[in-house]
């Protein structure tokens, strides 16, 4: 792992990505300590100010410090990304293995499920779900989980299928090795690398989706700060002040850029085969 990081940071873009990601993660994790203000404390007299030493990114319509809100918004973005991608990974791996190792009809059914999910534009699926259960972070996570499963599931299924027909595996089966053991010993280690790369490249997409839904008022609950809800404020206030748009978009752009550079660099280091896979 260390070696990989070393290689990644030897490359300028990889290093840049790594720095951005570390910076963003650190500022989100440390938001509680480094934020100059309480992100939800109102100060209506000071509302809609431009950047100053007092308020680095200005204030919103309720006089809340945008810089502090951006820092805490990072927590939301990262939380959503990591939680939803981890859950999607677990379910994707399981379904992919079942599809690969299970009976043909089950395989077809799972594949149909994957294809169906993929045939909705993600946002449309998200809108319907949010309408169904109401907007909340849990809903966003659920939507991302469901829409990400197919990507991971397919990778695992392909790998499983190729191993299943391996002479060596057939021999092991004859010798009485359980399916679970075969999956654990022979399939899992082979898919971990590609999955991690896919996942790290999915993070920007997921963060952008959370921001998008919050932008439409279908993500976080107020007063929780999210980059998307800051952007939504900015959209309503676009005639009054540009700063909420600037404040909401900069971290969003930086973190997606960081994860993309990092992901690409990881991919180049770990698995050049994946290059044209996406």
């Amino acid at each position: 792992m260390l070696q990989v990081l070393k290689k990644v940071s030897a490359e300028p873009l990889g290093l840049l990505g790594l720095v951005l990601v570390v910076l963003m993660v650190a500022s989100a994790v440390l938001a509680y300590w480094i934020a100059p203000y309480d992100p939800i404390a109102l100060n209506i007299i000071d509302r809609l100010q431009g950047p100053s030493f007092k308020h680095l990114l200005g204030t919103d319509q309720l006089g809340r410090d945008l810089f502090s809100r951006v820092l805490f918004g990072g927590q939301v973005a990262l939380k959503v990304a990591f939680i939803s991608i981890s859950i999607a990974l677990v379910i994707g791996v399981l379904l992919g293995m079942v599809a690969g190792f299970g009976p043909k009809w089950l395989d077809s059914l799972i594949m149909l499920f994957f294809d169906t999910i993929r045939s909705f534009p993600t946002v449309m699926f998200a809108l319907a779900t949010v309408a169904l259960v109401g907007p909340s972070l849990m809903t966003v996570v659920a939507v991302i989980v469901v829409t990400s499963i197919p990507t991971y599931g397919r990778v695992v299924r392909t790998q499983t299928l190729s191993i299943k027909n391996n002479e060596f595996i057939k021999a092991e089966q004859v010798m009485g090795a359980s399916t679970a053991r075969i999956l654990r010993v022979h399939v899992l280690p082979n898919v971990v690398g590609p999955l991690l790369i896919l996942a790290s490249m999915d993070i920007p997409t997921v963060i952008a989706l959370e921001a998008g839904l919050s932008f439409l008022g279908m993500g976080v609950k107020p007063p929780t700060p999210s980059w998307g809800s800051i952007l939504n404020d900015g959209y309503t206030l676009i005639r009054n002040t540009p700063w909420p748009i600037v404040a909401g978009s900069i971290p969003l752009l930086l973190v997606t850029l960081g994860f993309t550079f990092l992901g690409e660099s990881l991919r180049d280091q770990l698995d050049p085969k994946l290059r044209n896979n996406r």
């Binding site: 045939s119 534009p121 946002v123 809108l127 319907a128 998008g212 748009i245 993309t260």
Partner: protein, 314 residues
């Protein structure tokens, strides 16, 4: 080939049926009574019941789904009971706006992205290549609605160069084009980055292949090699990528249409979901799903046709 085509088409059909059924179920579990929302505060319970019956909401869900597909086979998407217009008319009235938007975004992205990628590939590892690489990735990762917000802020609110709202005067071609510029940029910019990276990568791959090297060895002019052979091969994958990317394009269009208050199928879906106008939701989702499924199928077919390994196994 024919069998593959048949397989691909029937798979597409199954997916459409499956997707629509899934959406149907989801939508009918959603709280919120369309009749109530649409009729407004002064509606009596009888009026609400009457409208629900008109929408077919009083029937069991399975029945509604069957009816929907039954009518579909006759080319009937149902009626919007609010304005008493066929849903098909509404959806196909809005669809061209979105297709124009997506189309001009993609064409614009190709016009900029392909030459950029080509140039980068030919001048590999120069400062230009590196710089355009970074810019490209930055473009790819920028979410459409953020680009839309910025272009609205800068070009419409501050500079007032382009109109910000709507799709322009009907029948006035130039007015419509000027309304198209900012939304198309919002959607297209990530594709500029994407295509330039893709073209660069496939150019490099193609240039390394035997027949190109042979062509060069035979002393064909460099320009001929690049534009007649290499570029042609390198551009084809972009076509398939656009097909697969249709889902992203539709999602991006939805955000962009909202930000710019532009008519289109994305805004239609958003509005009809929030007002619970079920017949319109079903119709518009069905049409966009079909577009998506067709474009993926077409790109799969092109891919299959291009890739000899798959072609031979057909």
């Amino acid at each position: 080939m024919f069998i593959y085509l048949l397989k691909r088409v029937s798979l597409g059909l199954v997916i459409v049926v499956f997707a629509v059924t899934l959406l149907f179920c989801m939508i009918h579990l959603v709280p919120g009574d369309p009749a109530r929302i649409l009729l407004g505060p002064r509606a009596t319970p009888e009026m609400i019941a009457h409208l629900s019956a008109q929408m077919g909401l009083d029937q069991p869900m399975a029945m509604q789904i069957l009816k929907f597909f039954g009518n579909l086979l006759r080319g009937d998407l149902g009626m919007d009971v609010i304005t008493n217009r066929p849903v098909a008319e509404i959806v196909f009235g809005q669809l061209p706006y979105t297709l124009w938007l997506i189309g001009s975004a993609i064409v614009g992205a190709m016009l900029i992205g392909i030459p950029l990628g080509c140039y980068s590939a030919l001048h590999r590892n120069t400062w230009f290549d590196r710089f355009s690489g970074i810019i490209s990735v930055a473009c790819i990762t920028a979410p459409a609605f953020v680009v839309a917000l910025y272009s609205l802020l800068i070009f419409a609110v501050w500079l007032k160069w382009f109109p910000a709202v709507g799709a322009g005067e009907p029948g006035d071609f130039f007015d419509q084009i000027s309304h198209l510029v900012l939304p198309a940029i919002a959607i297209g910019i990530s594709w500029v980055g994407y295509l330039s990276r893709l073209v660069r990568a496939s150019m490099l791959e193609v240039m390394g292949e035997n027949h190109i090297r042979t062509a060069r060895a035979y002393g064909l002019p460099e320009n001929t090699v690049v534009y007649q052979y290499a570029l042609k091969l390198a551009v084809l994958p972009t076509v398939t990528v656009i097909g697969v990317g249709m889902g992203f394009l539709l999602s991006a269009a939805l955000f962009t249409e909202i930000v710019f208050s532009r008519p289109g199928i994305g805004k239609l879906i958003f509005d009809s979901i929030t007002t619970r106008n079920y017949p319109v939701v079903m119709g518009s989702v069905l049409v966009s799903t079909i577009i998506f499924v067709i474009s993926t199928a077409v790109s799969d077919l092109i891919n299959a046709w291009l890739d000899p390994r798959i072609r031979n196994s057909l």
